[in-house]
Amino acid sequence: MTKIMIIDDDQDIIDSISMILEANDYTVVAKMDTDDLIPAIESENPNIILLDIVFPEDAQAGFKAAREIALQETLKHIPVLILSAVNQLNNLGFSFTENDISQDFMPVSGFIEKPVEPDVLLDKIKSVEETN
């Protein structure tokens, strides 16, 4: 059974996404901050990580966490999907698209914009599962 780790500071997002994933036979674990992230991921050993970008303590904590995960030999194989409310298509000056994904800047496997429809979320996860 695929284990998905949701790292998001919003309990409602965790709950609503967990409902969808658990109903589709995924195991879900969650973490609400990026403190001691590496040991937490090592201990849970998830198959996929859903990672928020903006956390209360740092607006770019998600990016930093993604880079940190990519640097770990034991964790870099785990696909990370960015899950954020910062719209990638709104030309806000600080927005980003999947074209920005790179090993240096944004070492992740994909981008999911919040709110996410169940079908879109499941398709994205399935495609990441297939790729990996």
């Binding site: 919003d10 409602d12 997002i13 609503s16 996404i17 409902m19 969808i20 109903a23 903006v54 607006a59 409310a85 910062v86 719209n87 709104n90 030309n91 806000l92 000056g93 600080f94 919040k114 709110p115 996410v116 429809e117 169940p118 079908d119």
Partner: protein, 495 residues
Amino acid sequence: MKAVSSEHIIHCIQDIHVKELVKRLNWSVSIRWYYIAFSSLLIVLVYFLAQAHAISLHFEFLIIANLFLFCCNLLYQYQLRYSYDKCLSTFDLRSYLILQIITDYLALTLVVYTLGSIETPIILMIIPNTILATLFFTPRQSLIIAISGLLMVISPLILEYFQLIPVISIFNHSLNVSFESNLSFKTTILANPTLLSGYIFILFSCVIFCWYLLCSITTRLINNELELERSYQDMIRLDKEKTHATLRSTHELKAPLAAIKNYIYTMNAGYAGEINAKVLKIINRINKRCDYLLNNVTDIIKLGNLKSYVVLDARTDKEENNQFYPVNIEQYINEFVDKSKALSCEKNLTITIDKQLNQSSSNQTDSKYYIMANDENLQLIFTNLFTNAINYSHTNGIINIIICIKERGETENNNQHLICVSIKDHGIGIEQKQIDKVFEEHYRCNNAAQFYEGGTGLGLSIVKVCSQILNADIDIDSTLNEGTTFTICFKLISK
């Protein structure tokens, strides 16, 4: 004769003071070329006049001074080209300026000795270099430069006084007639130490007065410039802070809405169990209100960013041309319509594209219609106009997209070709008295608000700012209950 193109040099040197310094160095070299040409012509003329009148003039000194200036100026011109390649620092450029000033003073000393420091006002030629020195050096440095220059150019007078060099006077013979003592005006002054000291004192006073005047003006200008630079830096800092704050506020405003929407999606998809019809109706109303809030928040932030771009970055980007690139607008519209057709399915709308491209486009025979733009702004313009056309059309209606070429006369013989894209709906239309207000922020016509409640009243404001950024003209034509046509015209470029 222009020495080296300032623009070329400025291209690689960003610092504002360095830019100014390079401009003035160029200016100095150019002025020197003009001076050499003019004085050479004058030497030839005066040579012939001197034959006919009793003028005693050492032409050889003037020729030497001109040759010296000519050779040095060639070297300076080369130095400027070198500074273009190497992007020299302010320090190096100032050293060049000092070198140029010393050269001018040396040549001027010889000219002053030849033409006379007392009889002619040629000594005042030190003023232009004093101006340059006050512009680019500290007041103390510029004072030292001005006094050194003056000492240099009056040195022949002092040497003449001590009889170390022969006394030369341009009006030697003619002045002899008017002075009973058989001495020229110059020799009279040279013979009287009090008069000579007085003359030198007056010269020093004049130069110091000029220096003081220039210094006070340039100090004020430099202070103003520094103040402007500080304000500009503050603006940049504030803009960065604002962008950061916008990111936070976007997240803070969108995150709770995203969570609510996520629950709605989850419930609608049946993950929370069965929902009865009444609850489902309420959920759908909540969903619509959420969409409205999300759109509103996004549009407010989008508009804020676009306006900030117009104020802060647009001019720089236009100058550096780093924001826009050629876009084949005909191809863009085709692709846009293909991608956006799905939006019109809900209302079963028919989309037609009518291309009227060969009417007056004599120079556009290859069917490539390029404009300078970027994808972000084009997308905002056409998404908003197209979405409006859909939202305010009746079910089973038609939306016509018309692409045509127009000419706008800029001058009598030079017409600007424009490519105009019209998006025409046959929907609810706008009352004539309200047409002027539709680009205002948050303005919504009553019939529009009743017909489609999801609008934010910001879409057309965004379109207006985007068209302003792209230097495009936007026009609206509407008749109530018949429909609205938005036409946006871009300047065509040749590619």
